[in-house]
């Protein structure tokens, strides 16, 4: 039984059972918190309206596109560079392939 | 009935070609049994597939052996001669560069597809002329003539006795 579950890695081993237990524990804590909050939640009142930073939001939810806005902003230089790489022009893709071909040739032969 | 005749005629043609291709393969005459059987089967398939197209516009006259013989005579006789002349003509024009081209129209009065085709191809291969267009309705030939001597020629001016031969062979 022990062997069927554990993975023996280079150093030690890893058993999913512990992690399942941990996940269950976390989940139960979260459930508890949620249930605690639920007692004071009343439908149809202002509580259902999202309320962020003192502003009432027009859109009733945070759009997926607006998550990690700051993160994306911070990575902007890299992301723009990457976007220009993914130019959509098939010639560029072929050029990259040629580059890889040259690099592999250099690496393998020289 | 017509369908059967079509298939049979196509079969004969295809089989003939096949026999020519595989001659000298065995001891039944020039062929071996396998070749004959396989060739017959193949020719039958081909006949089924292509007979309708082949005989769509008639052309049964061409099956007449006399016409066939005439065609061969025509091929090695006047046609080859005209071709030789044509080539010398082209040689002359290549060397001197003397041309006087134009596109003329004439009506040889041929009715059938086969006759028109024969004449058109003969014209293309013979002195100074190149068929550009054959009018389906009227039978007019439009010919690119490298040395226009007459703007509205008679058929004889352009292609000599070919229309006669074409009529004998194909009409």
């Amino acid at each position: 039984m022990e062997e069927t579950i554990k993975i023996f890695t280079g150093h030690g081993h890893w058993s999913p059972l512990i992690w399942v237990a941990a996940a269950l524990g976390t989940f139960s804590v979260a459930l508890l918190l949620w249930l605690l909050g639920r007692r004071e939640h009343k439908r149809g009142t202002d509580q259902e309206i999202p309320f962020l930073s003192g502003e009432r939001m027009e859109e009733p939810r945070v759009s997926a596109l607006h998550l990690y806005w700051g993160f994306a902003e911070a990575l902007k230089p890299i992301l723009t560079r990457l976007k220009t790489w993914h130019s959509g022009v098939v010639n560029d893709y072929a050029g990259w392939f040629l580059l890889i071909l040259a690099v592999v040739f250099l690496l393998v032969i020289v | 009935m017509r369908r059967v005749a079509e298939v049979a005629a196509t079969f004969a043609l295809a089989f003939l070609v096949y026999l020519i291709l595989t001659a000298f393969s065995g001891e039944v005459g020039l062929w071996s049994w396998e070749e004959l059987i396989g060739g017959a089967a193949l020719s039958f398939l081909v006949a089924l597939a292509s007979s309708r197209l082949l005989w769509e516009r008639g052309g049964w006259r061409l099956l007449n052996p006399v016409r066939f013989a005439t065609f061969l005579v025509y091929l090695v006789g006047p046609f080859l001669l005209a071709m030789a002349k044509a080539n010398l003509d082209v040689a002359y024009r290549v060397i001197t560069g003397r041309i006087n081209p134009g596109i003329v129209r004439f009506n040889p009065g041929l009715k059938t597809d086969a006759g028109r085709t024969l004449l058109a191809n003969s014209i293309t291969l013979t002195p100074g002329t190149l068929t550009l267009e054959v009018d389906d309705a009227t039978g007019d030939f439009y010919v690119h003539w490298i040395n226009v001597s007459n703007v509205d020629p008679k058929p004889e001016d352009v292609c000599g006795s070919f229309p006669k031969w074409a009529r004998v062979v194909a009409e």
Binding site: E3, I5, T9, W14, V20, A64, F71, A94, I100, V108 | -
Partner: protein
């Protein structure tokens, strides 16, 4: 009959694919049942082959010989094509079988009923056959032929949605790059043939001395296959292709990529094993790192759900490259941590197939009910599709490597192996994982959370069955990873890592 199992696994889907247009003329239900039946037969067949190979070692099957075991004629060298199924091939076949089981029932319901459905199903079967053929063959040219089968079938499937302008574009780009890579692969084969006059992988492998011609051939193989597996600077076709193919068939595209990866391992380890310098290993590692980083970063800005998941799928390729690359580096230095990393990389192929497959099925289901995949228009689907939402959550957590799921089980091995080589590798890999977690959390939030919205279609139970197959696979692999690692993954990894001598011996004898 069981002695012919390897070839039947390939030939039956081929026959099935040929027959699909005929059967479609009888009735479309017959066609659908036939397709599902073939997929089940293939799944059973690869299972049987895998069981046999794992218990009894390499299975050689010589095509066209008097007996299946007649590897060499009296002259002492192999002349016929032979299937050589070692543990790694069987493992690859197993992946294909599982995903076929999930993909074909889904596809039968998912693809709208029109003229193209018959053709798409036929192409799917042929793609499956090509994948099996690539996995099982032991002949270089045969590998190329089936590579082209998969290329062309995959591109036909990518171009399925001809009414959009995006799908033909993606298909054209993919086909162009695929055919170039295939042709360079063929050029490599030609070089080796010109030098050694043989095409059998094992026979050539025994002859290789690392001369200049060998190196040139290696470079051609490597660049061709790196393109086909979507490694980083040449991965551009992959998001287009994954994103634009019909969702059910994207699963097969994923397996197609992985079987190309298998081909890369086969070339590097079995054909050239032990005669490489470490540079190639470092190339593979660096391209793996680049792949995961670039794809994870690119996934941040995506607004199309399919394309986002596609970038996620591409980034997973990086982990496999990293894991096996570490193994490749350690092969020359004879360090045994390489085996751990390789086990991780190879295990990750299975995990990736399951998780990415499940993700794409979820994308397909979302598209089925909403008619769009744009993240800006989606939202609130969790209320109507709780099962799909759960599957998506499960798969994205597994993809990002959250502990009790299977993705972590393989990633931990990759991390440990690469940590011994250089901690920087591990740090980068973990960073990419975290980035992916963020990306998929966002995708989940955008698609499934939020207020309830209108939906236009209903989920069919077949969809849930297909997703269920993969979800159960994910959970089982997550909960009892040790069993699979010991019984399935470890033999496959060892077959590549040190199994070259056995592979050669199975064909060339003693």
């Amino acid at each position: 009959m069981s002695v012919h199992a390897p070839i039947l696994v390939i030939a039956i889907p081929l026959l099935g694919g040929f027959a699909v247009p005929i059967l479609a003329r009888i009735h479309r239900t017959v066609r659908d049942l036939w397709v599902v039946l073939i997929a089940c037969v293939v799944a059973a067949g690869v299972g049987y082959v895998a069981a046999q190979v794992f218990s009894q070692g390499i299975w050689v099957y010589v095509l066209g010989a008097k007996t299946p075991q007649e590897t060499r004629v009296s002259a002492g060298f192999p002349i016929r094509i032979m299937l050589t199924v070692d543990a790694m091939s069987a493992f690859m076949g197993l992946i294909a079988g599982i995903l076929a089981l999930a993909a074909f029932p889904f596809a039968v319901r998912f693809i709208p009923e029109e003229e193209g459905k018959t053709l798409a199903l036929a192409l799917g079967l042929l793609l499956l056959a090509g994948i099996a053929g690539m996995a099982y063959t032991g002949d270089l040219f045969n590998f190329f032929v089936f590579l082209e089968v998969t290329s062309i079938a995959a591109c036909g499937l990518i171009g399925f949605r001809t009414w959009t302008s995006r799908a033909p574009e993606a298909a054209f780009k993919t086909m162009l790059l695929y055919s170039v890579s295939g042709l360079l692969f063929l050029l490599g084969i030609a070089f080796l043939y010109g030098e050694y006059g043989a095409l059998n992988l094992a026979y050539i492998s025994a002859q290789l001395r690392g001369s200049m011609v060998d190196r040139i051939a290696l470079a051609l193989f490597l660049s061709g296959l790196l393109m086909k597996v979507a490694a980083a600077p040449v991965h551009f076709w992959a998001p287009d292709a994954y994103g634009e193919a019909p969702a059910a068939k994207t699963l097969l595209l994923v397996v197609n990529t992985q079987v190309s990866l298998y081909g890369l391992w086969r070339i590097l380890f079995t054909l050239y094993g032990g005669k490489l310098d470490a540079g190639v290993g470092w190339l593979v590692i660096s391209m793996g790192l680049l792949t995961m980083a670039v794809a994870a970063l690119m996934a941040i800005g995506q607004t199309d759900l399919g394309r986002l998941v596609a970038y996620g799928a591409v980034s997973q390729i990086g982990y496999m490259l990293l894991g096996v690359g570490v193994g490749l580096v350690s092969l020359t230095s004879r360090a045994d941590y390489g085996l751990v990393a390789m086990k991780g990389g190879i295990f990750h192929m299975l995990n990736d197939a399951l998780t990415v497959g499940l993700l794409f099925l979820c994308v397909g289901a979302v598209e089925w009910v909403k008619g769009t995949r744009d993240l800006r228009e989606l939202g609130g689907l969790g209320h109507q599709l709780p099962a799909v939402a759960l599957c998506f959550l499960l798969a994205s957590l597994a993809l990002a490597g959250i502990p009790p799921l299977n993705g972590f089980a393989s990633k931990i091995m990759i991390y440990e192996g690469s940590f011994r080589l250089s901690p920087i590798l591990t740090a980068l890999a973990v960073l990419a994982s975290i980035l992916l977690l963020a990306v998929f959390a966002r995708a989940f939030q955008g698609v499934f959370l939020g207020p309830r919205t209108e939906i236009t279609g209903r989920i069919h139970w077949v969809f849930l069955f297909s997703m269920g197959v993969l979800a159960v696979g994910i959970m089982v692999l997550g909960l009892v990873p040790g069993f699979f690692v010991e019984q399935v993954v470890a033999p496959a990894a060892e077959a590549l890592w040190r199994g070259r001598a056995l592979y050669l011996a199975a064909i060339l004898g003693g």
